[in-house]
Symmetry: C2
């Protein structure tokens, strides 16, 4: 089993997607959607250029829905879903996919857990048969639990505990969220992962894995009618869980005190300043503020021609890198992030001061209309190129439909982006770029803790990408 992408959310904190990922298809997308009688939503994206299909099942359940004290159970269950079912042996699903020339994997984030296979289009029924089987017929032995708990602990060790940037991001998130579960890492706190047991996994499974809590996304060389027939045959026969709990989460209180943190680690190769601001997310029929923030991130920190790059990398030359990030696909309040990596010899204090000066100057200068037009044009172009990536489109619909957005919201997004004015962007900037809802972090080179074996850590890019 490959699990490369399972931890993208955990590593990146509020998951930072590649820039193009926020572009959506226009209303002319070849997208069809419907709902089975048992409540399972279905989205079909037609693309007949190659006889291939991507089959995904997304559950509206993620780490932010976990019971208190059981952090990591959503991701743990994702691993366990490859074990024995009533009809398949452990590993049989992936082996069958591979034997049919395909690939499969799964991933977990704050708001969703998803399973997918990419295979020849005529194997779609077989994929559904296996996926439907493990939706209800999972068997878990104590041996599975013990083995797979070791696997996720080693995953945490490798991806988080051996990575100062991941530890730093984890602490930043924990301080950003005072009440909401987004402050707890997707992979889980180690001391809680160690206690996860069979009862935890099965309780999570039986509560949340049901067709009325799932979205089926099929993309590729298929017709909606074919998908409907197969979906009814394999998924339609599974009864809805009538006891599915409402998805209610603890929300943030007003964030009234600016926070800071310092994380020192002997393994840090490149110190930097990171800042996150609590920010609104994309909501159903209400995406304008999020669109303004998305454009703000592009203007401030989207590449070499961005405002921060000009100020910090070219004018004052205090930084080797600067960036701004905002995704917005999130069930609850998300973050707007900026980062500055200073040049050798510039302190983090000076880098932060330069960042603050640049942001203050931006609030005075306002949006350069030519830059905004250029970015909007680039977005239009990116949307067109994006149509070539049917897997990317499938991901976007899956993410959207598990975070309270609709097919219509996804289709409206490109026009919402185009409709945003310079004034909208400055209003969103004034709303979000305030000290009170912010956390400023310094990742610093520190002394090795006593007795610690310091291993060199490979340098990772600051902007974590989903490595699908």
């Amino acid at each position: 089993m490959i699990r490369q992408i399972a931890l993208a959310g955990a590593l990146a904190g509020s998951m930072v997607l590649p820039a193009f990922a926020a572009q959506e298809e226009t209303a002319s997308d070849p997208v069809t959607s419907f709902t089975l009688d048992n409540g399972m939503q279905v989205v079909v994206i037609e693309d007949h250029r190659a006889p291939v299909v991507e089959h995904m099942v997304w559950y509206k359940i993620g780490s932010a829905d976990e019971p208190v004290g059981s952090s990591g159970v959503a991701h743990f269950l994702e691993h366990l879903m490859f074990k024995d079912t009533d009809n398949m042996k452990s590993g049989e699903l992936s082996a069958t996919v591979a034997a049919n020339g395909g690939q499969d994997n799964a991933f977990t984030s704050y708001d969703y857990t998803a399973y997918f296979q990419r295979v020849a289009a005529d194997r779609l029924g077989l994929m559904m048969k296996m996926e439907a089987d493990r939706m209800t017929h999972l068997r878990l032995t104590e041996d599975d639990i013990a083995t797979e708990r070791d696997v996720i602990l080693e995953e945490r060790n490798m991806r988080t505990d051996n990575n100062p940037r991941a530890l730093f991001t984890e602490q930043m998130n924990a301080v950003q969220y005072l009440n909401h579960r987004y402050g707890v890492p997707v992979i889980g706190w180690k001391h809680e992962m160690e206690e996860l047991d069979r009862a935890d996994a099965l309780s999570f499974y039986h509560t949340y894995y049901a067709p009325n809590n799932a979205v089926l996304v099929v993309a590729g060389d298929v017709s909606p009618d074919q998908v409907k027939t197969l979906a009814n045959q394999y998924y339609g026969v599974i009864p809805a869980n009538k006891n599915l709990p409402p998805r209610i989460r603890a929300q943030e209180p007003p964030q009234i005190a600016a926070r800071r943190l310092t994380y020192k680690d002997a393994r840090v190769a490149q110190p930097y300043v990171s800042r996150s601001y609590l920010a609104p997310e994309r909501n159903h029929d209400d995406q304008k503020t999020a669109a303004a923030l998305y454009l703000l991130a592009q203007i401030l920190g989207g590449g070499q021609t961005s405002y921060l790059a000009q100020k910090l990398q070219f004018d004052s030359r205090v930084a080797v890198y600067s960036g701004a990030f905002y995704d917005g696909v999130s069930l609850d309040e998300t973050t707007f992030n900026v980062a500055v990596v200073p040049v050798d010899g510039v302190s983090l204090a000076d880098a932060e001061a330069a960042l603050d000066e640049a942001l203050a100057q931006f609030m005075q200068d306002g949006v350069d209309p030519e830059q905004l037009d250029r970015i909007k044009l680039q977005l239009r172009a990116a949307q067109i190129y994006e149509r070539d990536n049917v897997g990317g489109i499938a991901n976007r619909y899956g993410q959207a439909l598990t975070t309270s957005l609709t097919v219509e919201d996804v289709q409206a997004w490109p026009e919402v982006l185009q409709s945003i004015t310079a004034d909208d962007i400055m209003a969103a900037a004034a709303q979000v770029l305030r000290p009170e809802p912010s956390v400023t972090g310094w990742l610093m080179r520190g002394e090795a803790p006593e007795g610690a074996q310091v291993q060199p850590v490979a340098q990772l890019p600051i902007q974590q990408e989903v490595t699908q």
Copy 2:
């Protein structure tokens, strides 16, 4: 209903008790303890100097046991416990106590909720009858809920939202705890209090209000036999709740990144620096580290002759006040706190630098043996004086028995304190006074937020005391 003390925990964050409260009686205490057949623990403290009795029922349930999203429900239920029961009208219990010349009240903290009456000793049976009645026969109307929810919201408004120090402390706690529920205020987050309903209150009541989750403490002019007879008559007939859930809470991950926060408020009369360090609590049969921390707080910040007062108030004269606080009576990890109030004209940055310098100097100087001897002698004296305060003794046993300590632990505490050496104290200081598990806060005078009506706020002492 008076509810002065209900919010002590919420206001003070990790509740800072007056210095004498940590002294316990010696093994010669006139204390008897036993358990009823239904699991209710009973502690009797004899004091025959006056024909008066203090009757307390402590539930092993507090705000840190609340369901996610329902912050404030423990305290809300405390209020509602004065409403109609099957056998009493709303307010009847307090009216009956008053008509009998007594007083009654209740209070809620992170780890416990307690109800008490002080009356003539011959009214003990009547008190038990009423208290036992509301343990199981509470009735709640929608009208009670609406009325009392407004009361707790107004309480929060008055005690927290109109008090910059309380807001500051609330934010400090939220940033201190990354995972544990001690980061959520006892009174609750306002947006969650607004949503508390009858089902929340009744669910909490039916789950946790039961004799096997309660401790009866009776102090005063009674004999253990009298108490046993009455307790069996009134409480012994109530069946145990066999579905009482185990008291399992989410614990902290390693705290690896020093945190800071700044809270600015136009109503701040006196800016100051506050720092809290995550610290071990008193545990059953394991009180030495807590005792060392208790003595450390006395040495560093217990009055005018303390180390910080000497350094900051008398030598460098940067501070008008300095203090160190540690209680240790807590079910889970608690905090060790220091605070410095600078003199006019000294910045918070300079005050903090002076604090850090003084703490570093203390780590080099070590404990002054004469100061330690003097403090131990004062503790011995305080213990003796404390015997006069039977209510204080009752409180100490109630707090201890609801935070996993035993009668034996309480009785051992004075000797544990006396056994602590200078080396023990320096080891505890080295363990706790580190940047990584700390939060440093600046309470600053700020601009009034737009549209806000700024009301002058009465100056409160930094060290909040329980105003029982």
